[in-house]
């Protein structure tokens, strides 16, 4: 007796008769999941711009409050030209960039050091951490007037507030990172007679790097907020001041376009951190809002 089901097994493995309907089926896929990312992004942008344009066109809100997309686009080009020609806006952009970079550098230095003290020593964990948590729960921009009073209206007060805001997530990230090593790894280093420094630098810090970079990413966002807030409150010559002046003159297209350039700066800083993370923490997949960034 020959049966189709015999195949290569050399003996019948199924019971006759072998006549069944085909049961091929497909999983349900919604149309929205099939749209490529770029198309989805552009599509959403078009929808938002159309809505914006309609609100302006039909004067749902006053045209003084909400400029048209075209006006904003024209101003973006105007500001872009000013930046490229080395005009006063470039000088403002440079000042804000300096504030952000200095603020971030200080935040990394202080945040990492405090994080190691909190994460590694029981003094830090018992004595220092409660105070850090207490300060962290405060609305940190409320300290801006204090920094202005102490450091004046120059770049110093802006750097200080930027650093102040960005420090805490880095402390938390570093301290959490140092606790991320598992029991086995710690026992292994202990059984090998490793010193505290060896354990810290060869095991705990590398293990904690993903957490540390999470802190850095949150800090990179905070540093922008700190610098701009300080500029709003304390004048100076940065982009924040330009925004404040434009808003006070009801030049809303200018406000929108300056915000866009400011976002580009923040975006750049953020991706600089992500880029560094990919290079340094090559064994760990970095995520943004829980979604994997492409490798």
């Amino acid at each position: 007796m020959t049966m189709a089901t015999e195949r290569d097994l050399g003996r019948p493995v199924t019971v006759e008769p072998a006549s069944f309907p085909e049961t091929v089926w497909t999983e349900k896929v919604t149309i929205i999941d099939l749209i490529p990312r770029s198309v989805a992004m552009i599509g959403l942008l078009v929808i938002v711009l159309t809505l914006w344009w309609s609100v302006h066109h039909f004067q749902i809100v006053s045209r003084i409050i909400l400029p048209s997309p075209q006006e904003v686009a024209a101003d973006i080009i105007f500001v872009g030209k000013n930046l490229l020609s080395g005009g006063y806006m470039l000088a403002a952009l440079w000042i804000t960039t300096k504030e952000i970079l200095f603020g971030f550098a200080i935040a990394i230095a202080i945040g990492f050091t405090l994080g190691v003290i909190v994460g590694e020593t029981s003094f830090g964990e018992r004595a220092l951490l409660p105070y850090l948590v207490a300060i962290d729960t405060m609305p940190k921009v409320a300290f801006a007037p204090l920094f202005l009073a102490w450091l004046g209206f120059g770049i110093g007060s802006k750097v200080a507030l930027a650093a102040f805001i960005a420090t805490f997530p880095i402390v938390v990230g570093t301290a959490a990172g140092l606790h991320a090593s598992d029991e086995n790894a710690r026992m292994m280093f202990k059984s090998l007679g490793a010193t505290r420094w060896q354990t810290l630098f060869q095991m705990k810090i590398p293990t904690g790097l993903p957490h540390i970079f999470t802190g850095l990413k949150i800090g990179a966002v905070g540093v922008m907020a700190g610098a701009i807030t300080a500029e709003f409150l304390g004048g100076g010559k940065g982009l924040g001041e330009l925004i404040r002046v434009a808003a006070s003159q009801l030049q809303t297209p200018r406000v929108f376009s300056l915000i866009l350039y400011l976002s580009a700066l923040g975006y750049l800083l953020f991706w600089l951190v992500v880029f560094a993370e990919r290079r340094i923490v090559f064994w760990h997949r970095s995520t943004v809002a829980g979604i994997e960034t492409r490798h």
Partner: protein
């Protein structure tokens, strides 16, 4: 039951070399003595012997191993290794854990060399590179020396961790369920590898395990532990020829040993 232990010690004394490890009255308790993790344990490991400790979860097996490794201090008792007290980590000891515990930022060979780097510095580690390569070749990891652990399978990772244990040329091996995270096929293979390594180096080994067949397959003596607070209730001498093979696992004697130990464990579990 103390008698059984005594008989076992005497029996192995006739067969094997001088004592390497000697534990007397070793206990461990927490919370100012209110919680006992380990009841008094006496243990002699003789040179070149392979012993296993088997017992239910939480009976204090791992605590015992940590005390022997000098990672955790005992509450009472004394632990002697080669005639000197164990009061901290010792270079004669090599350890393996349930998880391979490889570090993802180090390549396979860098992971193997890590103990040397920690104990003797980076220069010494570089000097031992050839030996590390030889060990990797021995366990069949040729060509994987420069890949990162992410690219290794579970079995390959554990083989790397064997190399890391052996690179320091330890005379004593403390093994904390080293292969329990592996699937059964790989595990059998690894156990035979482990036996080969121990025999070729005349190493003294102590294995903590949950698996009765694994304990019987590898050991000269299997120590059966009671539930918490753990202590030895029986020392079972495994009188099977060496080298042991996987075929022996189907023999009636092997089955008898397994049955005996299982009954003993069930008895303890019932009386606990």
């Amino acid at each position: 039951m103390t008698q059984a232990v005594q008989t076992a010690i005497q029996a192995s004394a006739e067969r094997l070399g001088p004592p390497v490890y000697q534990l007397r009255n070793v206990t461990r308790s927490f919370a100012a003595g209110r919680i006992k993790a380990l009841d008094p344990v006496d243990l002699d490991l003789r040179e070149g012997s392979f012993s296993a400790v088997i017992g239910p979860s939480g009976c204090g097996k791992s605590t015992l191993l940590k005390i022997m490794a000098g990672v955790t201090p005992p509450t009472t008792g004394s632990v002697m290794l080669y005639g000197s007290p164990v009061v901290g980590p010792r270079t004669e000891i090599g350890m393996m854990y349930q998880q391979a515990t490889l570090f993802p930022w180090l390549t396979t060979i860098e992971n193997v060399l890590l103990p040397i780097k920690i104990r003797e510095g980076a220069a010494a580690a570089t000097a031992k590179r050839e030996q590390a390569q030889a060990l990797l070749d021995l366990v069949g990891l040729t060509g994987f020396e420069n890949v990162y652990p992410k690219q290794l399978s579970g079995g390959m990772a554990q083989r790397t961790s064997i190399c890391r244990m052996l690179i320091t040329e330890p005379q004593v091996l403390l093994l904390d369920e080293p292969f329990s995270a592996l699937d059964e096929l790989v595990r059998d293979f690894m156990n035979i590898e482990l036996q080969r390594i121990c025999m070729s180096r005349n190493a003294t080994a102590l294995l903590i395990t949950h698996s009765i067949p694994e304990a019987v397959l590898l050991s000269d003596t299997v120590y059966v532990m009671s539930p918490r607070p753990g202590h030895f209730v029986e020392a079972v001498d495994i009188d099977l020829p060496r080298p042991r093979t996987l075929d022996m696992m189907t023999s009636p004697e092997f089955g008898e040993y397994v049955r005996h130990i299982r009954n003993r464990l069930d008895l303890e579990a019932a009386s606990a």
